[in-house]
Symmetry: C2
Subunit: 505 residues, 2 copies
């Protein structure tokens, strides 16, 4: 079957002529995605120099492909052709890729790729060694090059440098809007956290008793992935320092990490990445080779992972459904009752690590990073001053002292070492979208919890398939969310969700 | 340190101008090597379509890079420049790559890559299912395209079609010479096999009693790899259907396969691939990005794997050294005495499977394939007739009936499904080179066996490092072997080795 975006019509010659170039780019990006996954999940240390050089060469090649002199005229001519709506959306996405590439010199693209490879690779050991000074040497060029990129994009797009980087992950996002949303969260969240913690202080929660052998954690994770619909014929589960979802839509590679004293971290990490994976595995196959066939944005991507991890994964109904699996794989324990698991997984306690944070304190981790990276990119903060800013904000938002604790402080995430500035807001936007989706799903299925408790996730999966996965990049983010839920982003759903889950229990 | 081949001199402008192009090709090939390893060792089935397309796109890109109009003039001009000897060798290798690419149209390169990906991928299941007819559908286009390639190369190079393909793996090799060598082997080998089998019929060999848990086989393999000097900081061991050594020189990926009723197969497979790996891991680092920095040829590559597996790995001295490790990992058994292991690993018995064949019957497997693939490429045999030719030759050379047994017959190897015709002779050439090397090493170290038995492999490793690994592609194959051993290929060393090992014991 030819899809609307790939059917070729005699009346759209310029559009048709663009397709082979973008198909080629898709194939190149396949090699890069695989090499990136391997770098994080498989590669031994001495491979990194050659890998970094190969990936930088690929970035240069893709940049050259997108800056080919013919593309400008074709994109302009295609805009005047009688395109169908999916073709029109594809043209918009092609133009976006083209613009982003053409605003940056090849030298910068190559230098950024090399600096990020070197910094990220060294970070793995430096984080373990709590070596901020060593890290800073590699990090300064990463920041310098990101600022240079941000300046170039900023001048052309008429937005702030930070907004220009953020828009790479979330097209159209503006920090003024994010700041408004986050500012509102800051008004009600501290009080909510305090009330919930006071309430939970009365609650008794049994701690699971380890060790939990890694092979059994893995078997549990794999069974839960299956339950959530992960297609193992089109993907894998592996291990990496920083869990992620990578690979390509036809072959999705998710990772987790295990420690034998805790199974919740690996399990919830797997549930989270499975949300990303199902989005990729259910993007429309016939559009995959085109920009319109990609996931909409990182905010929407995180809305999938957080629909799975937070809305579904930490709900009492889901935990009722998987409690028998936990017992099957890890043996019987009183702590593995559905009720205790639900209390355990909604326990609120400020901590150092973002990816291990509970649902309620998580936004504080994101807001802190957003504020720091924005100041860093806009030139108000220097790389050397990140730890001090971190310490101050951790104290203010979560009451924790992180001085000197770089490994569990500003060295904990892969984003900055790899040059991804502007990504973090996606997490909290994603959490908010997810709450909004589930409000819609609950309206359609008032008995949703009963379905979930019985292991029937179809009300959730069918809704996501219809409204998000199948829609790829056919719409801009606001329109996608509007079509799916009837309104644009409304953070009140997130607040309502938190209050319902955390104050009612 | 700048190496002789990469130092740039003002008097060699054309040569200097070639370096960036070939460095870029090296980086592209990195991505292809990794994607190929992943395809065989990691990729789930639904990933194959996109992987095949991406790899074909990469082949096209590399072909375009090598057919760039500027290269011809630069190669010609560089030939007249005052090059040092390593530079001269590099120019020879660059010209070879350039010629091979420029003789083939892009359409053919892409079609071959796609046909091989599809055929090899389907072969994995078809082999298991013994499905020759299903395989044939994918195999016919692979053969047709290989013949087309062979014709094009043949016409330009003035050699037979088969010789043109063989020269891709072993530059300068001619089937007339191979046939002479193999013809000689056919005169003395059957009698030797018979005499050895008669002698061994009197010998009692204890069979190890399984099962041998895969985790323990792996731990044993890893320890033996370490003993043989494999650098785990620059490589990995994984599992694949067909064991191979892949990846890149900076990050060498070897694979094996395990069955729990037999540990010898995985162990000797690992020793074999470790030989390939050490060659790659010890190629001169400063030349890796250039054609002259590559391994010399597939015959020389197999001479490394067979130096490890056959000369070293199946020697009584080596088995004396590793018998305690076998006992450590697999538990004590009478069968694990050094003497019994040596008898077990030199046991001669005609069998169906090449990679499991003993040292003595192995050449018959290669000669049979050489004769079939040469007829296939030269057009004297059709793809559909391969099984009949196989059955006839297996009966003649090894006395085995393979009719209807495709999975253990002509479907057993990855080479033909992946379009590699002309590779097989490399194995027996390699075995012969390896015997010749060890004759030289024994002349230098008459007490070689005592060193090996004591776990001191330095006489072997130092010799290989000096004469083979460090020499990369600085010399043509004949010169390399001449410099290393004082004479060109002399198959008599192979015969002498077999007689000494198999008739004296």
């Amino acid at each position: 079957m030819k899809s609307p975006a790939t059917a070729t019509s005699a009346s759209t010659p310029a559009y048709n002529a663009l397709i082979p170039t973008f198909t080629r780019l898709y194939r190149y990006s396949h090699l890069g995605a695989l090499a990136g996954w391997d770098q994080a999940a498989m590669m031994p240390p001495k491979g990194n120099g050659a890998r970094g050089a190969a990936l930088a060469e690929l970035q240069v090649l893709m940049h050259q492909t997108l800056t080919d002199a013919n593309l400008k005229g074709l994109l302009q001519a295609a805009a005047d052709e009688p395109l169908q709506s999916a073709e029109r959306a594809n043209l918009r996405e092609m133009r976006r890729d083209w613009e982003l590439a053409n605003l940056l010199p090849e030298r910068l693209v190559e230098a950024q790729s090399l600096a990020a490879s070197a910094c990220e690779h060294a970070w793995r050991a430096q984080r373990k060694a709590n070596d901020w000074q060593g890290f800073l040497k590699n990090f300064e060029p990463v920041v310098r090059l990101a600022r240079e990129e941000a300046q170039l994009l900023s001048q052309a797009q008429g937005v702030s440098p930070y907004d220009a980087l953020m828009a790479k992950f979330e097209p159209g996002a503006r920090s003024a809007q994010i700041e408004g949303v986050f500012g509102a969260v800051k008004t009600w969240l501290p009080d909510l956290v305090q009330r919930v913690r006071a309430q939970q202080a009365q609650q008794s929660v049994l701690q699971p008793i380890g060790p939990f052998p890694i092979e059994r954690q893995k078997a549990l994770g794999v069974e839960v992935m299956g339950l959530l619909g992960f297609d193992f014929e089109g993907g894998r589960l592996d291990i990496s320092t920083h869990p992620f979802c990578g690979g390509v839509a036809e072959d999705v590679r998710i990772t987790t990490r295990y420690t034998d004293d805790d199974f919740v971290r690996s399990l919830m990490g797997i549930v989270h990445e499975t949300g990303h994976a199902r989005y990729e595995q259910n993007l429309p196959r016939e559009l995959l080779h085109l920009p319109v066939g990609r996931a909409r944005s990182m905010g929407i991507h995180e809305s999938q992972s957080l629909s799975f991890e937070m809305q579904l994964g930490r709900s009492p109904a889901f935990l009722q459904c998987i409690a028998p699996l936990v017992q099957k794989h890890l043996g019987p324990q009183d702590a593995f009752s559905a009720g205790n698991l639900a209390r355990l997984l909604t326990r609120v306690e400020p901590g150092y690590i973002r990816v291990d944070a509970d649902e309620l304190t998580y936004p504080a981790h994101v807001i802190l990073r957003f504020e720091i990276e924005r100041a860093l990119i806009d030139g108000e903060l220097q790389a050397a001053d990140v730890p001090a800013a971190w310490d101050e904000k951790m104290q203010a938002y979560l009451g924790l002292d992180t001085r000197g604790n770089f490994r569990n402080g500003c060295l904990q995430d892969i984003h900055w070492p790899s040059g991804s500035f502007g990504y973090f807001p996606s997490y909290t936007l994603g959490a908010m979208y997810a709450a909004q989706y589930f409000a819609s799903i609950r309206t359609l299925h008032p008995d949703l919890d009963a379905h979930i408790a019985a292991g029937d996730f179809s009300p959730v999966m069918d809704w996501l398939q219809t409204h998000i996965w199948s829609q790829a990049s056919l719409w801009d983010t606001d329109t996608l969310v509007q079509r799916a839920t009837g309104e644009a982003l409304n953070p009140m759903y997130f607040k309502a969700h938190l209050e319902r889950r955390y104050l009612a229990s």
